[in-house]
C-alpha cells in the first residue's frame, strides 16, 4: 500500500515471556451449569429480572440496568430473529490460528468457506445470543430473518449442544 514509510533506527531489544495460561487460575460461578443442562433437554434458559422484566439469555446473576438479583429462570423459545450478522473472509490455510490450531488444517472449516456469525434474539428473550448461521448462502442473509435452533445429535449438557441456527422453514 502506498503509505508514506519512514525509516527509523532499530535499537536492541530485551526479550521476555509471560505465560498467561500457566500462571493464572480464574474463578467462575457455576451459573452456566443450569443453562448447559437446559440445552441438553433442548431448552434455552434465561434469567428474569424482577425489576424491569428483562429476560437475559444465557442467565446471569444481576440485572445490568436495575441491579436486582435475577434468581428466577424462564425458558424461551428456540425460534428467534437475526438481529445482526457478520460474514468472515473466506478461510485459507495458514491465515489464522485459534488457541494455537489452524482451523483449515484440522478440518473445522473448508478452504474458502465463509462463516456467518449472527446475533439471535430468541422469542421471549431480551438479549442476543451469538452463534453461527448455517444452511443459507451469505448473500441471502438479512436482518430480521427468522431462524430456528439446531441441536447437537447427541446432547451432553454442554454449551456445544446448541450448535447453530438455521433459517426457519414456513
Amino acid at each position: 500500500m502506498p503509505y508514506i514509510k519512514e525509516q527509523r533506527k532499530e535499537t536492541i531489544s530485551v526479550e521476555g515471556d509471560w505465560d498467561v495460561g500457566g500462571s493464572t487460575t480464574w474463578k467462575h460461578s457455576t451459573l452456566l451449569q443450569e443453562y448447559a443442562q437446559g440445552l441438553k433437554e433442548k431448552k434455552i434458559i434465561g434469567s428474569l429480572c424482577p425489576g424491569c422484566g428483562k429476560v437475559i439469555v444465557p442467565p446471569r446473576n444481576i440485572c445490568g440496568r436495575c441491579h436486582r438479583k435475577m434468581d428466577e429462570k424462564v425458558v424461551v423459545s428456540d425460534i428467534g430473529t437475526v438481529t445482526c450478522f457478520v460474514i468472515s473472509a473466506p478461510f485459507a490455510k495458514g491465515q489464522a490460528k485459534v488457541l494455537g490450531m489452524d482451523p483449515v488444517e484440522i478440518g473445522l472449516v473448508e478452504e474458502g468457506e465463509r462463516v456467518i456469525s449472527v446475533y439471535v434474539k430468541f422469542d421471549g428473550a431480551d438479549s442476543n445470543v451469538d452463534t453461527e448461521l448455517i444452511g443459507v448462502e451469505p448473500e441471502k442473509v438479512y436482518l430480521g430473518m427468522r431462524v430456528k435452533a439446531v441441536w447437537a445429535k447427541e446432547p451432553q449438557g454442554r454449551l456445544s449442544d446448541l450448535e447453530a441456527v438455521e433459517p426457519l422453514k414456513d
Binding site: 519512514e6 535499537t11 450478522f85 457478520v86 485459534v98 431480551d126
Partner: protein, 412 residues
C-alpha cells in the same frame, strides 16, 4: 469550580515501530514537547495524570519507572485506564485536578507501545482481556467451531463489526460510505506530521481494492496499532491568561460508562442491550457536556469535531450520537462533503483514530487536535475558518466507556 484551559500540547511521531526509543524516552519526548509549547518549566507542574492500556506493552505499571523522565518526582501521579477512552479520561482527570482548586498546573499524558509485544498489533492485550470469559465457556463445553465463529467475526474488529451492521441497517449507510470515510481519514493524516497511516490522495476506490476481513470491514477500514505518546498542559484561569497567548478553554465535559457490550458479560452470561449501535453513553455524555458548555444547538455552534473512530462506521454513528447530524443522515452529509476541511462540520482533520491508534494516546489526541485547531497551530491540517467551539470524543472498554469534551476559545 474554576475555569481550566489547555496552554500547551506535545506529541511524538506515531508509527508502527518506534524501536529507536524505549518507553520512557518516548513518553518523555511528548511531555517535554508539551512543556516547551506551554513555556512551562518542569518544576512548575503541580500534578500529573497518566494512562495507557495495562499489559499491552508488557509492562504493567510503566509510570513507576518513567516518573523521573517526565518530571514527576515530588508531584502526585494518578494513573487512569479506561480502555480506548483512556486518553480522554486522563485529560478529564487533569481537569478535575485544576478545576478543584487543588493544583494550578497539571500535565496529562497518555501513550502506547504496541511494538514491544511480539504478537502483531494489539493481539496480546486483547487476548488477555477476553481470556477469563473464554476459559469459562470452554469449561462448560463451548464448541471449537463457536469460538472460531467469534474469532472470525471479531479477530480484528470485535463488536465494532456488529455495531457497523446495526448502524448500516438502521440508517441506510452502505459499504461505499465506509470506503469514503477511511479514504478521507488517511488523506487527512497525510497532512498531519505526527500521524501513522499517511496516504496522500487516497481515494475510496483505493480502499475498496483491499481484502475483506469480515463483512462489512475491509483491511483498508481497520485502524493500525501504533506506537506513540501525547501530552497536554492544563492550567487555571489566572496562569492561562498570564502565560498563554491563546488558551483553549475546556467548557464542558462528561463521561458515561455502561453495561459491557462486547459479546457476553462476565461469566459468559447475556447482555441486556439488543442494539450495539445504540451507545446511549455517547448521547447522554454529549447532552451533559453541551449543557455544561452552554451549547444549545450543536449543529450550528460546533465548528469541528474529533471523533474516536477506529472503524469508519463509528465516525458516522458517533457524529449522530453527539448531535452533530440528525439520526441516520451522517452518511448523506459525508456524500455532500460536509465532513471535509471546507465543509460545514469537519470531522477528524488529523486522520483520527482510523489513521493513528496508539490506544492510550488516541483519545487524548482527539482533545489535543481540537486544541491545536482552536489555537491555530494545526499547520497543514488547520481548518480555514475561525474555530470557536469544538467537541472531542473518546470511546473504549467493552464499547462501554465514553468521554466527551467540549472546548472553546472563551470560557463562557
Amino acid at each position: 469550580m474554576r475555569n481550566v484551559a489547555i496552554i500547551g500540547c506535545g506529541q511524538t511521531k506515531h508509527s508502527g515501530r518506534r524501536r529507536d526509543v524505549n518507553l520512557a524516552e518516548m513518553v518523555g519526548d511528548a511531555v517535554w514537547n508539551a512543556l516547551e509549547d506551554a513555556q512551562v518549566g518542569p518544576h512548575e507542574v503541580d500534578a500529573f495524570t497518566v494512562g495507557n492500556m495495562q499489559g499491552f506493552g508488557g509492562v504493567a505499571q510503566p509510570e513507576q519507572w518513567l516518573g523521573d523522565w517526565i518530571g514527576a518526582p515530588g508531584k502526585p501521579v494518578l494513573r487512569i485506564a479506561t480502555g480506548g477512552s483512556t486518553g480522554g479520561c486522563v485529560a478529564q482527570a487533569a481537569f478535575y485536578a485544576v478545576a478543584s482548586g487543588l493544583y494550578d498546573i497539571a500535565v496529562a499524558t497518555a501513550w502506547e507501545k504496541h511494538s514491544d509485544s511480539k504478537e502483531p498489533g494489539a493481539t496480546t492485550g486483547l487476548a488477555h482481556v477476553g481470556l477469563g470469559n473464554t476459559l469459562n465457556m470452554i469449561n462448560f463445553g463451548v464448541s471449537f467451531k463457536h469460538l472460531l465463529s467469534m474469532v472470525a467475526a471479531g479477530a480484528a474488529a470485535g463488536v465494532a463489526c456488529y455495531q457497523a451492521m446495526y448502524y448500516m441497517h438502521r440508517s441506510g449507510c452502505r459499504v461505499e460510505h465506509l470506503d469514503m470515510v477511511a479514504a478521507k481519514d488517511r488523506r487527512n493524516a497525510a497532512n498531519n506530521k505526527y500521524a501513522h497511516l499517511q496516504w496522500p490522495g487516497c481515494t475510496p476506490e483505493d480502499i475498496a481494492k483491499t481484502k475483506w476481513v469480515a463483512y462489512p470491514f475491509r483491511y483498508g477500514h481497520i485502524c493500525p496499532a501504533s506506537d506513540g505518546a501525547s501530552a497536554m498542559v492544563l492550567a487555571c484561569e489566572e496562569v492561562a491568561r498570564k502565560r498563554c497567548k491563546k488558551p483553549v478553554w475546556i467548557k464542558g465535559l462528561a463521561a458515561y460508562s455502561d453495561e459491557e457490550n462486547q459479546i457476553m458479560s462476565e461469566g459468559a452470561g447475556g447482555i441486556g442491550i439488543l442494539d450495539a449501535s445504540q451507545q446511549i453513553g455517547a448521547t447522554m455524555s454529549a447532552i451533559k457536556a453541551y449543557k455544561m458548555a452552554g451549547i444549545k444547538d450543536p449543529q450550528k455552534e460546533i465548528d469541528l469535531a474529533e471523533i474516536y473512530q477506529p472503524f469508519p462506521s463509528q465516525e458516522l454513528m458517533f457524529a449522530e450520537r453527539l448531535g452533530l447530524f440528525d439520526e441516520g443522515t451522517a452518511w448523506k452529509a459525508l456524500e455532500k462533503g460536509e465532513t471535509d476541511i471546507n465543509g460545514k462540520m469537519p470531522c477528524d482533520l488529523s486522520g483520527g483514530v482510523n489513521a493513528t491508534n496508539a490506544i492510550g494516546s488516541s483519545a487524548l489526541q482527539r482533545i489535543l487536535e481540537c486544541a491545536l485547531q482552536i489555537m491555530g497551530k494545526a499547520e497543514e491540517h488547520q481548518v480555514p475558518k475561525e474555530v470557536h467551539n469544538a467537541v472531542a470524543h473518546g470511546w473504549g472498554g467493552a464499547t462501554n466507556y465514553i468521554a466527551v469534551t467540549v472546548l472553546g476559545d472563551s470560557p463562557y
